[in-house]
Amino acid sequence: MSVKERDPLTGHQTTGHEWNGITELNTRVPRAIWWFIGITHLWALVMWILLPTWPLVTSYTKGILGLDQRELVAGEIEAGERYREHWVVRFEGESLDGIRQDETLMEVVSGAAPAIWGDNCAVCHGVSGAGGPGFPNLVDDAWLWGGSDEAVLESIRVGINSAHPETQFSQMLAFGETDILTREQIRTVVAYVQSLSGLADPPPQMREEGAMLFADNCASCHGEDATGVNDLGAPNLTDDAWIYGGDTETLFVTIHDGRMGWMPGWEGRLTQAERKMLAVYLLDVLPEEGG
C-alpha cells in the first residue's frame, strides 16, 4: 500500500507507508537542526584539539593546552596551601595562649574551626561538643586526660586506644567477666558509686561494704577519693558528668563488662595548625556558645 498522500495541514507528502494507521511525512530536516549539529560538533572538535582526548596505541593525544587533571589538582592544592600559609605558620609557632591573644588568629579559628570540627569530631562528640553515651562531653569541666592546653592537644594528636604509636592507653577492667567481683559485689559497688554523686542513698552497711570494695579494686585507677586520675584516663566518679551513664543498669554493665573508649589519633590526618585550632575551639569557643 505504497500510496503517497499529501497532508492537507502541512502540505508535505507522506512517505507512502502506513503502519496500523500511522503514516510519516517526508518533511525535510529543519535547517535549525543542521546548525545545531554544526555548532555542537565544532565545539567538540575544538575540545579535542585543546584537551587530551583520543587514544593512540600506547598513549593519547595530549591536546595543545597540555592539561592533565592530576597536575591541575596538585596545582590547586598547592595554591590553596600558599594562600593559607601566612596564618598557618603563625599557628604553628604560637602556644594556645598566644593564639588566644591574637585577634586575627582568633578570627581564623571562629571562621575555620566549626567546619573542621563538624567534619571530623562532631560525628562522635556532637556538633555542640556535648557528646552522648560513650562519647564524652568536651564542653564541661570533667576531663579524662586533663583539660590543660597540653593535655587536650595531646589527646587530639595521639587519640585514646588508637592506632597511633604513642596513643594514650586506658581501660576499665571487666570486673564481672573476669570474676574478680561477684554480681552481688558489683551491685554493692554500684550503689556506692552512685552515692558519691548523690544519685543514691544506700543503707550505711552497704555503703561501708561498697567503700571497702572500692578501695580494694578501684581506687588504684580512680583515686582514693574517686575523683579520677588523669594520667590513667580514669574519670571522676563523684561529679555528675558521665560518659556511659550513672543509672544502675549502665553502671552495672560498665563494671561487669569493662569499657575501653576509642578516640582516633589525628596526627597525620589534621595538620598541627588545625589541631591547635580545634583545641582552642573546644576549650574556648564551644563552651561560650553554650555547649
Binding site: L9, M47, G111
Partner: protein
C-alpha cells in the same frame, strides 16, 4: 489464558516450571539458613504456584485454530497489570526512601529497612519492574500492530514476561536481604544475572521472528528503537556482569573487571541502561502511541532516521561523564563530555519530531489527558536530555556531581519522561487490548495527569534547589581559605527540600493509585467495543492465519 495455549505448550510449560522448582529446591538446600537459601525457596514457591495454575488447566480442550487470526494479546494484558503492580511497589519504596531522608528514624531499626537496601529496591522495582514490564508489554503490542502479524509464538512471550518477573523478584528481595553486588542498576547477583540472559535472548529471538513474519514491507521506527533496546541491553548486561561465583551454593561472586576498568564498565553499562532501557525502548513507545492517539502523521521520517542513528551512535560513547574527576584518565572524560554534548542534537530532534507531530492535534491535547500525558513526556524528555548534556560538561559536573542535582535530573527523566509516558501509553492501550470503548473514567485520567505533573514538578524543583545548594555549600571558602560549611551543615540544610520532595512523591504515588484503580475498573466495567480491524491481515488485506513454525 492458560486455556488459550495448546496442550503441548502447557506440558512444555509444566516441564520448565518443574525444572525451575528443582533448581529452587537445590538452592534452598545449598544455602539453608542464608539469603541464598531464601532465594531458593522463592524460586520454588514461584514455580510451584505457576505449576498448579497450569496443572488445573492441563486437560482443558485445545484452543480453536481461529485464534491465529487475532493478535496475541494475553501476555500484553498480564504485562500491563504486572507493570502497574510494580509501579505501586517501586514508588512506595521510593516514597519511603524520600520520607526516610527527611525523617531518618523511619528506618525502623531493621537492617532490611535501611537506606542502603531500600534504595536499590526502589530503583530496581521502578526501572526494571515497572519500566521493564511496560516495555515488554508495549513492545508486544506495537510489534504486532505495526507488523500486522501475530506474535511469532504463544509460549515464548510468556516465558519472557514471567521469566523476567522472576528476575526482578530475585533482585528486589535480594537487596532487602542484603544480597547486592554493588553495581548500581546491576545489583543482582550472578544467578539472577544468568537467568536474565536466558530470558533476554528469548525475547530478542521472539522479536526478530515476529518481525520476519510481518505483513508490512517496511519496519516502523518504533520497532527500530525496541530492537536497539533489546539488543544493546543484552550486550550491556552480559559485559557488566561477567563474574565468578565464589561457590555455586552461595550468592557471593567477584566481577571479572577490577579497579578503574570496572568503574568504566559499570558506567558504560549504567549510562547505556539509561540510553537503551529508559530512552530507546521508551522512544519506541512514544513513536507508536503518540501519533496513533493524535491521529497525525509523524512530522518527519528523515528526522526519525537522523535521530535514531544519532542516538544509537553517540550514546555508547558518553558513559564516562559519570566518572569526571576520578581515577579515569582525563582523555576518556573529554571523550565522554564531547559525545554527550553532540548527543543533544538527536535527542532534541526526537523530542521536536514528537511535538511537531502534534501540530494539527493541539485541540486533542487540550481535551484528551491521555495524549497530554505523552506530550508532557516528550517535553520532559527534551528537558532531561538538555540537562544531561549540560551536566556532562566537566566544569558543570564539578558542581552537580554527588549532589541532589543528579537526583533531580534522574527524576525529571524517570517521572516526567518514563513514568508519565508509560501512563499515557497504558491509557491508550488498555481499551484496545481489553476491547473497551474507552477508559472507565476520563475524569480520573485527568486527575492522575495533574497529580503526576504536579508531583514531578515539586520533586524536581525541590531537588534542583537542594542539589545546587549542596554543591555551593561544599565549595564555599572562608576568607582564610578554609571550608565555610561542614558536611553536616549541608545535610541539615536539606531538610525542607527533602520534605518537599516527599510531598511531591506522595502526589505522584496517589496519582498512580488512581490510575491503577481506573485501569481495574476499565477491565471490569467499561462498556465493550468491537474493534473489527484490529487483527493481522496480509498485504492484500486478507485475514492472516499462518501458523507459527515451532518455537
Amino acid at each position: 489464558m492458560i486455556g488459550a495455549l495448546t496442550v503441548g505448550q502447557r506440558q512444555a510449560g509444566l516441564v520448565i516450571l518443574i525444572l525451575g522448582a528443582v533448581v529452587g529446591l537445590a538452592m534452598a538446600a545449598a544455602g539453608a539458613g542464608e539469603a541464598f537459601g531464601a532465594h531458593g525457596l522463592i524460586i520454588l514457591a514461584f514455580c510451584a504456584a505457576l505449576s498448579f495454575a497450569v496443572l488445573a488447566r492441563l486437560d482443558d480442550p485445545e484452543p480453536p485454530a481461529e485464534r491465529r487470526r487475532a493478535y496475541y494479546d494475553d501476555p500484553i494484558k498480564v504485562g500491563i497489570v504486572l507493570s502497574m503492580i510494580w509501579a505501586v511497589i517501586g514508588m512506595f519504596f521510593g516514597l519511603w526512601v524520600a520520607y526516610l531522608l527527611a525523617w531518618p528514624d523511619l528506618t525502623l531499626d531493621a537492617p532490611w529497612a535501611s537506606f542502603g537496601r531500600l534504595r536499590p529496591a526502589h530503583t530496581t522495582a521502578v526501572i526494571f519492574g515497572f519500566g521493564g514490564s511496560a516495555l515488554i508489554a508495549t513492545s508486544f503490542h506495537v510489534m504486532q500492530r505495526t507488523s500486522r502479524a501475530r506474535l511469532a509464538g504463544e509460549f515464548s512471550p510468556w516465558f519472557v514476561l514471567i521469566g523476567y518477573q522472576l528476575f526482578v523478584i530475585l533482585a528486589v528481595t535480594g537487596y532487602l536481604m542484603g544480597i547486592n553486588q554493588s553495581k548500581e542498576y546491576a545489583e543482582a547477583e550472578w544467578y539472577a544475572d544468568l537467568w536474565l540472559v536466558v530470558v533476554w535472548v528469548t525475547y530478542f529471538v521472539l522479536y526478530m521472528r515476529t518481525l520476519a513474519r510481518r505483513n508490512e514491507p517496511h519496519i516502523y521506527v518504533a520497532n527500530w528503537y525496541y530492537m536497539a533496546f533489546i539488543l544493546i541491553v543484552a550486550v550491556l548486561h552480559i559485559f557488566n556482569n561477567i563474574a565468578v561465583p565464589v561457590s555455586f551454593g552461595g550468592s557471593q561472586s567477584y566481577i571479572l573487571w577490577s579497579g578503574v576498568q570496572d568503574a568504566m564498565m559499570q558506567w558504560w553499562y549504567g549510562h547505556n541502561a539509561v540510553a537503551f532501557f529508559l530512552t530507546a525502548g521508551f522512544l519506541g513507545m512514544l513513536y507508536y502511541y503518540l501519533p496513533k492517539r493524535a491521529e497525525r502523521p509523524i512530522y518527519s521520517y528523515r528526522l526519525s532516521i537522523l535521530s535514531f542513528w544519532g542516538i544509537v551512535f553517540f550514546y555508547v560513547w558518553a558513559g564516562s561523564h559519570h566518572l569526571h574527576y576520578t581515577a579515569l584518565p582525563h582523555w576518556v572524560q573529554t571523550l565522554g563530555m564531547t559525545f554527550s554534548v553532540m548527543l543533544l542534537v538527536p535527542s532534541w530532534a526526537t523530542a521536536a519530531n514528537a511535538l511537531l507531530t502534534l501540530n494539527g492535534a493541539w485541540h486533542k491535547v487540550r481535551d484528551d489527558a491521555t495524549l497530554r500525558f505523552m506530550m508532557v513526556a516528550a517535553i520532559f524528555y527534551g528537558l532531561t536530555t538538555f540537562e544531561g548534556s549540560f551536566l556532562a560538561i566537566r566544569g558543570v559536573n564539578a558542581l552537580s556531581h554527588y549532589t541532589d542535582w543528579t537526583v533531580a535530573h534522574v527524576h525529571a527523566g524517570a517521572l516526567g519522561w518514563n513514568a508519565i509516558l508509560i501512563f499515557g501509553a497504558v491509557y491508550a492501550a488498555v481499551p484496545v487490548i481489553w476491547r473497551r470503548e474507552r477508559m472507565w473514567s476520563n475524569r480520573l485520567v485527568e486527575w492522575h495527569f495533574w497529580l503526576a505533573v504536579m508531583g514531578t514538578v515539586i520533586y524536581v524543583f525541590a531537588m534542583w534547589n537542594s542539589g545546587i545548594l549542596q554543591g555551593l555549600m561544599w565549595r564555599t571558602y572562608t576568607d582564610a581559605g578554609t571550608l565555610q560549611y561542614s558536611f553536616i551543615d549541608s545535610v541539615s540544610a536539606m531538610i525542607p527540600y527533602y520534605v518537599a520532595r516527599a510531598v511531591g512523591g506522595t502526589a505522584f504515588l496517589i496519582g498512580t493509585g488512581i490510575g491503577v484503580f481506573n485501569i481495574w475498573m476499565t477491565i471490569r466495567q467499561a462498556p465493550e467495543a468491537h474493534l473489527a480491524l484490529d487483527r493481522p491481515t496480509s498485504p492484500a488485506g486478507e485475514a492472516d492465519d499462518r501458523s507459527v513454525p515451532a518455537e
